[in-house]
């Protein structure tokens, strides 16, 4: 289709860029001591993820990822932190128990990762059906209200519980102080 030199190469580079953004963003989010930098890492990670969705031919999902995770979630978190965080984070001495727990959690995470990766690469997956829809809003709306309505409703329940939980915590905090 295309006659541009190195078109394959460029698109591979874009894919690797998205992959690197997702990976490095996640690392920044996990390793940074400043909470705001962690949130920036989260934003980078989400941008990378949306790039991967784009490569999976799901532009709608990619855009939603940016709109919701970068535009709403990260902004809300930064806003909350900006008003609350002290100027300089206190440097804490690493405790011995913390080191042990880090080791344990790293082992568990590594085992989980290897297991999932093995399952993903070697597992006996069913071949995905050829896509019959064109990914338009109409199709997405119909499938959200028919095929996936149960999942859709479950998500709203999760959100409801999250709101209730936040209310409970906020109330508890008020009584203590």
């Amino acid at each position: 289709m295309t006659t541009f030199p190195a078109a394959e190469w460029i698109s591979t580079m874009m894919f690797l860029l998205a992959l690197a953004a997702a990976g490095s963003g996640a690392l920044i989010a996990a390793l940074s001591t400043r909470v705001i930098r962690s949130v920036c890492g989260l934003a980078i990670c989400c941008l990378g993820l949306s790039g991967l969705y784009w490569f999976l031919h799901s532009p709608f999902l990619a855009m939603m990822e940016i709109l919701i995770y970068v535009g709403a979630v990260c902004v809300t978190i930064v806003f909350a932190i900006m008003l609350a965080e002290p100027d300089e984070p206190a440097q804490e001495e690493p405790r011995k128990s913390a080191l042990i727990w880090t080791g344990v959690s790293l082992t568990v995470a590594l085992a989980l990762f290897c297991g999932l990766a093995h399952l993903g690469v070697r597992g006996n997956w069913q071949e995905a059906q050829a896509r019959t829809t064109d990914g338009s809003i109409r199709e997405i709306g119909i499938s959200l209200l028919t095929t996936y309505s149960a999942a859709f409703e479950m998500i709203s329940l999760v959100l409801l519980i999250a709101i209730l939980g936040a209310l409970v915590i906020a109330r508890g905090g008020r009584e203590h102080s």
């Binding site: 295309t2 541009f4 078109a7 705001i36 532009p59 855009m63 940016i66 970068v70 902004v75 900006m82």
Partner: protein, 329 residues
């Protein structure tokens, strides 16, 4: 004339960058000239005929200044913030259909894409404000977030209304539906929703607020907050923020043209073309300038009240009205 695909994209990339740069520079001139005329003074006159070389002189001045990074700021975030403000606009402009055959990339979720990338702007101003370690900048950043959250809601409700009316998020398709005479433009389609002009007004107000323009320029309230989130920026750091503001206005007005004013369609049904698009877009931009120099800055509570008590109920009402009308007729 068709250019092979990747070369076409490169041409569009250069074109968009040039267009944004030129507009950012000359909208400043329009703004200053307009401000002058509204206040009964001539505006810039010295550099070139009618001050036409003023933007170039300004740019040279900004670029030749030292790029100061104050001690104690978060260096990475401080440097990244202006770029983060500019790049989403450039990405979003790629999906704007300037005319029937003049669009860099025509994707079927174009409208969604503009709003997805538009939401990154808030993050940019906020990071700029936070990383400056300056109390004015932090106050400004806090204001930007509450303002943008408040105005994002009516904006998206209006967009949902428009998606319901047009049935698509493809900007090219949206314009194509408004073919014919002036009453086919979405703003005058009163048989779909009798409140369509009002919907446009809500859209325009939200656009003003989201681009932080007067009377809603709480982020950069010069008389209260020095320069708000941009206080610590010097040289082109400030310059890029400034360009991004005008690029955002350009994008907002282009979007308003596509969604409501029929894009490249002509009002009399003949000779559609890119000049109609530009004429409508620049009319909207001129209105933005006009409003800035006509109305004083609102109070912050007034701003939030306008959104939560007037615009959100109004846009919800038009949304419900539109769905009812579409179901009934």
């Amino acid at each position: 004339m068709t250019v092979p695909e990747p070369y076409r994209l490169i041409l569009y990339l250069a074109g968009i960058l040039g267009f944004v740069g030129l507009n950012a520079a000359y909208l400043v001139w329009v703004e200053r000239k307009g401000a002058g005329r509204f206040q009964r003074r001539p505006g810039p006159t010295e550099a070139g005929p009618a001050g036409l070389l003023q933007p170039i002189a300004d740019a040279l001045k900004l670029m030749s200044k030292q790029l100061l990074v104050p001690a104690g700021v978060d260096r990475t975030l401080f440097r990244v913030a202006p770029l983060l403000m500019m790049s989403p606009v450039l990405i979003s402009l790629a999906v704007i259909p300037w005319s029937e055959s003049l669009a860099a990339r025509n994707i079927n979720v174009g409208l969604l894409m503009i709003f997805a990338f538009g939401s990154i702007n808030v993050m940019a101003v906020m990071l700029g404000g936070w990383s400056s370690r300056n109390k004015y900048a932090i106050i400004s950043a806090a204001r930007v977030v509450s303002q943008n959250v408040a105005y994002e809601i009516p904006m998206l409700l209006v967009i949902v209304t428009m998606i319901m009316v047009t049935g698509t998020m493809d900007l090219n398709e949206i314009v194509r539906q408004q073919e014919g005479f002036i009453w086919n433009w979405n703003i005058f389609r009163v048989w779909v929703n009798p409140l369509m002009p009002l919907t446009f007004l809500v859209f325009f107000t939200c656009m003003l607020a989201e681009t932080n323009r007067a009377p809603f320029d709480m982020a950069e309230a010069e008389s209260e907050l020095v320069a708000g989130a941009y206080t610590e920026y010097s040289s082109m750091g400030f310059g890029v923020f400034f360009m991004a503001e005008y690029a955002n206005i350009l994008l907002g007005c282009a979007l308003g043209t596509v969604l409501f004013l029929g894009g490249w369609q002509s009002p009399i049904g003949i000779l559609p073309g890119v000049f109609w698009f530009l004429a409508k877009m620049y009319f909207l931009i001129f209105t933005v300038v006009w409003i800035r120099w006509t109305f004083p800055r609102t109070q912050f509570y007034g701003l939030l009240n306008l959104s939560w008590k007037i615009l959100i109920p109004l846009s919800l009402f038009t949304l419900i009205l539109t769905s009812a009308m579409m179901k009934l007729f």
